[in-house]
Protein backbone atom coordinates (compact mmCIF):
# COMPACT_ATOMS: atom_id res chain seq x y z
CA UNK A 1 0.00 0.00 0.00
CA UNK A 2 1.39 3.45 -0.84
CA UNK A 3 1.93 6.05 1.83
CA UNK A 4 -1.37 7.59 2.84
CA UNK A 5 -0.93 11.35 2.93
CA UNK A 6 -2.61 13.06 5.83
CA UNK A 7 -1.12 16.56 6.22
CA UNK A 8 -2.76 17.22 9.54
CA UNK A 9 -1.59 19.13 12.60
CA UNK A 10 -0.60 16.76 15.38
CA UNK A 11 -2.27 19.01 17.93
CA UNK A 12 -5.37 19.70 15.81
CA UNK A 13 -7.63 18.41 18.57
CA UNK A 14 -6.16 20.92 21.03
CA UNK A 15 -6.40 23.74 18.46
CA UNK A 16 -10.08 22.94 17.79
CA UNK A 17 -10.93 23.25 21.49
CA UNK A 18 -8.81 26.41 21.76
CA UNK A 19 -10.87 27.89 18.91
CA UNK A 20 -14.07 27.15 20.86
CA UNK A 21 -12.60 28.79 23.97
CA UNK A 22 -11.69 31.84 21.88
CA UNK A 23 -15.21 32.14 20.47
CA UNK A 24 -16.75 31.85 23.94
CA UNK A 25 -14.39 34.44 25.44
CA UNK A 26 -14.99 36.86 22.59
CA UNK A 27 -18.74 36.44 22.90
CA UNK A 28 -18.55 37.21 26.61
CA UNK A 29 -16.18 40.13 25.95
CA UNK A 30 -13.43 38.67 28.08
CA UNK A 31 -9.82 39.42 27.17
CA UNK A 32 -7.70 36.39 28.00
CA UNK A 33 -3.96 36.37 28.65
CA UNK A 34 -1.85 33.22 28.70
CA UNK A 35 0.90 34.08 31.21
CA UNK A 36 4.04 32.01 30.71
CA UNK A 37 7.56 31.87 32.16
CA UNK A 38 10.19 29.59 33.67
CA UNK A 39 9.39 28.32 37.17
CA UNK A 40 9.67 31.11 39.70
CA UNK A 41 10.07 34.12 37.38
CA UNK A 42 7.32 35.85 39.30
CA UNK A 43 4.04 35.11 37.47
CA UNK A 44 1.96 34.81 40.64
CA UNK A 45 3.71 37.78 42.27
CA UNK A 46 3.00 39.84 39.17
CA UNK A 47 -0.63 38.74 39.26
CA UNK A 48 -0.94 39.80 42.89
CA UNK A 49 0.52 43.23 42.13
CA UNK A 50 -1.56 43.66 38.98
CA UNK A 51 -4.77 42.71 40.77
CA UNK A 52 -4.05 45.24 43.53
CA UNK A 53 -3.44 47.93 40.92
CA UNK A 54 -6.54 47.15 38.84
CA UNK A 55 -8.96 46.55 41.71
CA UNK A 56 -12.10 48.63 41.20
CA UNK A 57 -11.07 49.58 37.66
CA UNK A 58 -11.56 46.26 35.94
CA UNK A 59 -13.02 42.84 36.81
CA UNK A 60 -10.43 40.11 36.80
CA UNK A 61 -10.52 36.34 37.03
CA UNK A 62 -7.60 33.94 37.21
CA UNK A 63 -7.00 30.36 36.14
CA UNK A 64 -3.99 28.85 37.89
CA UNK A 65 -2.18 25.98 36.24
CA UNK A 66 0.18 23.95 38.38
CA UNK A 67 1.69 20.50 38.27
CA UNK A 68 0.89 19.99 41.95
CA UNK A 69 -0.74 21.96 44.78
CA UNK A 70 -3.16 24.88 44.81
CA UNK A 71 -0.75 27.23 46.57
CA UNK A 72 -0.85 29.84 43.81
CA UNK A 73 -4.67 29.75 43.69
CA UNK A 74 -4.74 30.31 47.45
CA UNK A 75 -2.56 33.38 47.00
CA UNK A 76 -5.01 34.79 44.42
CA UNK A 77 -8.15 33.82 46.39
CA UNK A 78 -6.87 35.93 49.32
CA UNK A 79 -7.30 38.97 47.06
CA UNK A 80 -11.00 38.17 46.55
CA UNK A 81 -10.64 37.50 42.87
CA UNK A 82 -12.45 34.53 41.26
CA UNK A 83 -9.85 31.84 40.74
CA UNK A 84 -9.97 28.29 39.38
CA UNK A 85 -7.10 25.92 40.00
CA UNK A 86 -6.08 23.39 37.38
CA UNK A 87 -3.75 20.68 38.69
CA UNK A 88 -2.16 18.96 35.71
CA UNK A 89 -0.93 15.96 37.73
CA UNK A 90 2.49 15.91 36.16
CA UNK A 91 1.85 17.47 32.78
CA UNK A 92 4.24 20.31 32.12
CA UNK A 93 1.77 22.60 30.34
CA UNK A 94 -1.90 23.54 30.16
CA UNK A 95 -4.03 22.27 27.30
CA UNK A 96 -7.14 23.85 25.81
CA UNK A 97 -9.41 21.13 27.21
CA UNK A 98 -8.33 21.88 30.79
CA UNK A 99 -9.06 25.57 30.24
CA UNK A 100 -12.43 24.73 28.65
CA UNK A 101 -13.39 22.81 31.80
CA UNK A 102 -12.17 25.65 34.02
CA UNK A 103 -14.12 28.30 32.08
CA UNK A 104 -17.38 26.63 33.07
CA UNK A 105 -16.59 27.45 36.69
CA UNK A 106 -16.25 31.21 36.11
CA UNK A 107 -19.12 33.64 35.65
CA UNK A 108 -17.69 35.19 32.49
CA UNK A 109 -20.47 37.74 32.16
CA UNK A 110 -18.87 39.76 34.97
CA UNK A 111 -15.28 39.51 33.78
CA UNK A 112 -13.19 41.90 31.66
CA UNK A 113 -9.80 40.27 31.96
CA UNK A 114 -8.94 36.61 32.47
CA UNK A 115 -5.35 35.75 33.24
CA UNK A 116 -4.34 32.13 32.82
CA UNK A 117 -1.11 31.39 34.70
CA UNK A 118 0.47 28.52 32.82
CA UNK A 119 2.75 25.91 34.36
CA UNK A 120 6.26 27.33 34.88
CA UNK A 121 8.02 26.11 31.74
CA UNK A 122 9.39 27.97 28.72
CA UNK A 123 9.21 25.06 26.28
CA UNK A 124 6.04 23.00 26.31
CA UNK A 125 3.32 25.66 26.78
CA UNK A 126 4.47 27.27 23.50
CA UNK A 127 2.91 24.45 21.47
CA UNK A 128 -0.55 24.56 23.08
CA UNK A 129 -2.98 27.28 22.12
CA UNK A 130 -5.48 27.78 24.96
CA UNK A 131 -7.78 30.21 23.14
CA UNK A 132 -6.13 33.28 24.64
CA UNK A 133 -6.05 36.70 23.01
CA UNK A 134 -2.33 37.02 23.70
CA UNK A 135 0.61 35.41 25.41
CA UNK A 136 2.59 37.41 27.93
CA UNK A 137 6.01 36.02 28.77
CA UNK A 138 7.78 36.88 32.03
CA UNK A 139 11.57 36.63 32.12
CA UNK A 140 13.31 37.51 35.35
CA UNK A 141 16.76 39.02 35.56
CA UNK A 142 18.03 36.09 37.67
CA UNK A 143 17.61 33.79 34.67
CA UNK A 144 20.19 35.65 32.60
CA UNK A 145 19.99 37.53 29.32
CA UNK A 146 20.23 34.53 26.98
CA UNK A 147 16.81 32.96 27.63
CA UNK A 148 15.13 34.32 24.48
CA UNK A 149 17.76 32.58 22.35
CA UNK A 150 17.37 29.32 24.25
CA UNK A 151 13.56 29.31 24.18
CA UNK A 152 12.79 31.19 20.95
CA UNK A 153 9.32 29.74 20.32
CA UNK A 154 7.91 31.26 23.48
CA UNK A 155 9.40 34.68 22.81
CA UNK A 156 8.24 34.57 19.18
CA UNK A 157 4.65 33.71 20.16
CA UNK A 158 4.32 36.29 22.91
CA UNK A 159 2.99 39.81 22.38
CA UNK A 160 4.37 41.25 25.62
CA UNK A 161 7.59 40.60 27.52
CA UNK A 162 7.78 41.51 31.19
CA UNK A 163 11.30 41.66 32.56
CA UNK A 164 10.79 41.04 36.28
CA UNK A 165 13.04 41.22 39.37
CA UNK A 166 14.56 44.47 38.13
CA UNK A 167 15.46 45.22 41.77
CA UNK A 168 18.08 42.47 41.61
CA UNK A 169 19.96 43.82 38.58
CA UNK A 170 22.73 45.45 40.68
CA UNK A 171 23.63 42.04 42.12
CA UNK A 172 23.62 40.09 38.86
CA UNK A 173 25.54 40.04 35.64
CA UNK A 174 22.37 39.95 33.58
CA UNK A 175 22.43 42.71 30.94
CA UNK A 176 18.87 43.92 30.59
CA UNK A 177 19.62 45.71 27.30
CA UNK A 178 20.99 42.46 25.86
CA UNK A 179 18.00 40.48 27.15
CA UNK A 180 15.75 42.93 25.34
CA UNK A 181 17.88 42.85 22.20
CA UNK A 182 17.81 39.04 22.14
CA UNK A 183 14.02 39.02 22.53
CA UNK A 184 13.44 41.71 19.89
CA UNK A 185 15.58 39.97 17.28
CA UNK A 186 13.19 37.01 17.50
CA UNK A 187 10.09 39.15 17.82
CA UNK A 188 10.65 42.77 16.74
CA UNK A 189 7.05 43.69 17.59
CA UNK A 190 7.37 42.64 21.23
CA UNK A 191 6.18 45.18 23.79
CA UNK A 192 8.49 45.27 26.82
CA UNK A 193 7.83 46.24 30.44
CA UNK A 194 10.38 46.22 33.26
CA UNK A 195 8.99 45.42 36.69
CA UNK A 196 9.88 44.56 40.23
CA UNK A 197 7.31 42.85 42.40
CA UNK A 198 9.46 43.68 45.43
CA UNK A 199 9.64 47.44 44.97
CA UNK A 200 6.53 47.71 42.78
CA UNK A 201 8.40 49.54 40.03
CA UNK A 202 6.85 49.24 36.56
CA UNK A 203 3.64 47.67 37.83
CA UNK A 204 1.67 50.85 37.23
CA UNK A 205 2.89 51.18 33.61
CA UNK A 206 1.95 47.57 32.87
CA UNK A 207 -1.44 47.88 34.57
CA UNK A 208 -2.14 51.15 32.79
CA UNK A 209 -1.36 49.49 29.49
CA UNK A 210 -3.89 46.76 30.30
CA UNK A 211 -6.50 49.35 31.21
CA UNK A 212 -6.09 51.31 27.99
CA UNK A 213 -5.81 48.33 25.67
CA UNK A 214 -8.46 45.96 26.99
CA UNK A 215 -12.19 46.20 27.19
Amino acid sequence: MPIVRIERKVLQKNDDIAALNRVLLRKKRVFAINLVSSPGSGKTSLLEKTIAELKGKMNLAVIEGDVQTDLDAQRIARLNVPVVQIVTNGACHLEAKLVQDALVKIDLADIDLLIIENVGNLVCPAAYDLGEAMKVVVASTTEGDDKPLKYPAMFRNASVLIINKMDLVPYLNCRVDLLKENAMRINPGLLVFETSCSTGSGIREWSQWLLTNIG
Binding site: M1, I3, I6, V10, K13, C124, A127, Y151, M154, R185
Partner: protein
Protein backbone atom coordinates in the same frame (compact mmCIF):
# COMPACT_ATOMS: atom_id res chain seq x y z
CA UNK B 1 8.46 16.84 28.42
CA UNK B 2 5.37 17.42 26.32
CA UNK B 3 6.81 15.03 23.72
CA UNK B 4 4.89 12.30 25.55
CA UNK B 5 1.61 14.12 25.04
CA UNK B 6 2.53 14.79 21.41
CA UNK B 7 3.36 11.11 20.85
CA UNK B 8 -0.07 10.21 22.28
CA UNK B 9 -1.72 12.62 19.83
CA UNK B 10 0.20 11.05 16.95
CA UNK B 11 -0.81 7.54 17.98
CA UNK B 12 -4.46 8.52 18.23
CA UNK B 13 -4.40 9.97 14.70
CA UNK B 14 -2.54 6.94 13.32
CA UNK B 15 -5.07 4.53 14.87
CA UNK B 16 -8.01 6.50 13.46
CA UNK B 17 -6.47 6.41 9.99
CA UNK B 18 -5.53 2.74 10.24
CA UNK B 19 -9.15 1.95 11.00
CA UNK B 20 -10.36 3.97 8.01
CA UNK B 21 -8.17 2.14 5.49
CA UNK B 22 -8.47 -1.18 7.30
CA UNK B 23 -4.71 -1.51 7.67
CA UNK B 24 -3.35 -4.38 9.69
CA UNK B 25 0.15 -3.01 10.13
CA UNK B 26 1.80 0.39 10.36
CA UNK B 27 5.35 0.61 9.10
CA UNK B 28 6.23 4.25 9.44
CA UNK B 29 4.68 7.60 10.33
CA UNK B 30 6.06 10.67 8.59
CA UNK B 31 6.23 13.75 10.80
CA UNK B 32 7.26 17.31 9.95
CA UNK B 33 8.71 19.42 12.74
CA UNK B 34 9.68 23.06 12.37
CA UNK B 35 12.83 24.34 14.02
CA UNK B 36 10.65 26.63 16.14
CA UNK B 37 8.00 24.07 17.08
CA UNK B 38 9.55 23.55 20.48
CA UNK B 39 9.69 19.79 20.00
CA UNK B 40 12.86 17.75 20.36
CA UNK B 41 12.80 15.08 17.61
CA UNK B 42 14.91 12.55 19.54
CA UNK B 43 12.73 12.91 22.58
CA UNK B 44 9.57 12.47 20.51
CA UNK B 45 11.05 9.37 18.89
CA UNK B 46 11.87 7.95 22.31
CA UNK B 47 8.39 8.66 23.70
CA UNK B 48 6.72 7.15 20.64
CA UNK B 49 8.72 3.91 20.89
CA UNK B 50 8.02 3.69 24.60
CA UNK B 51 4.23 4.03 24.28
CA UNK B 52 3.74 1.69 21.31
CA UNK B 53 5.53 -1.21 23.01
CA UNK B 54 3.05 -4.05 23.37
CA UNK B 55 0.37 -2.36 21.24
CA UNK B 56 -0.72 -3.01 17.64
CA UNK B 57 1.67 -0.24 16.57
CA UNK B 58 4.72 -2.02 17.95
CA UNK B 59 7.44 -2.20 15.30
CA UNK B 60 6.39 1.04 13.60
CA UNK B 61 8.67 4.03 13.60
CA UNK B 62 8.62 7.78 13.13
CA UNK B 63 10.35 9.39 10.17
CA UNK B 64 10.97 12.98 11.17
CA UNK B 65 11.59 15.70 8.61
CA UNK B 66 12.78 19.06 9.97
CA UNK B 67 11.89 22.37 8.38
CA UNK B 68 13.76 25.67 8.48
CA UNK B 69 12.29 28.90 9.73
CA UNK B 70 11.19 31.06 6.77
CA UNK B 71 9.80 34.57 7.01
CA UNK B 72 7.90 36.70 4.52
CA UNK B 73 8.49 40.44 4.49
CA UNK B 74 5.40 42.40 3.38
CA UNK B 75 7.52 45.55 2.90
CA UNK B 76 9.72 44.15 0.12
CA UNK B 77 7.85 40.94 -0.69
CA UNK B 78 10.88 38.68 -0.21
CA UNK B 79 10.84 35.32 1.62
CA UNK B 80 14.02 34.47 3.49
CA UNK B 81 15.39 31.75 5.70
CA UNK B 82 15.94 32.85 9.29
CA UNK B 83 19.58 32.48 10.36
CA UNK B 84 20.63 32.66 14.02
CA UNK B 85 17.10 33.57 15.05
CA UNK B 86 17.18 36.98 13.32
CA UNK B 87 13.56 37.58 12.33
CA UNK B 88 14.37 40.90 10.68
CA UNK B 89 14.19 40.89 6.87
CA UNK B 90 17.76 40.47 5.53
CA UNK B 91 16.76 42.18 2.27
CA UNK B 92 15.35 45.47 3.52
CA UNK B 93 15.68 45.42 7.30
CA UNK B 94 11.89 45.31 7.71
CA UNK B 95 10.89 44.13 11.15
CA UNK B 96 7.23 43.37 10.52
CA UNK B 97 7.88 39.90 9.09
CA UNK B 98 5.49 36.95 9.10
CA UNK B 99 6.71 33.45 9.78
CA UNK B 100 5.54 31.28 6.88
CA UNK B 101 7.17 28.07 8.05
CA UNK B 102 9.19 26.81 10.98
CA UNK B 103 6.57 26.13 13.64
CA UNK B 104 5.02 23.06 12.00
CA UNK B 105 4.10 20.01 13.99
CA UNK B 106 2.41 17.93 11.34
CA UNK B 107 1.63 14.35 10.47
CA UNK B 108 2.52 14.23 6.79
CA UNK B 109 1.54 10.66 6.04
CA UNK B 110 1.46 7.07 7.15
CA UNK B 111 3.09 4.08 5.51
CA UNK B 112 0.74 1.14 6.07
CA UNK B 113 2.82 -1.86 5.17
CA UNK B 114 1.00 -5.00 4.04
Amino acid sequence: MHELSIAENIIEIVKQNAAVVNASRVNCVKIRIGELAGVVPDSLDFCYSAIIAGTELEGSRLEIEKTDIVIHCPACGVDSKVEDLFFICPECGGSDTKMISGDELWIVGIDFDE
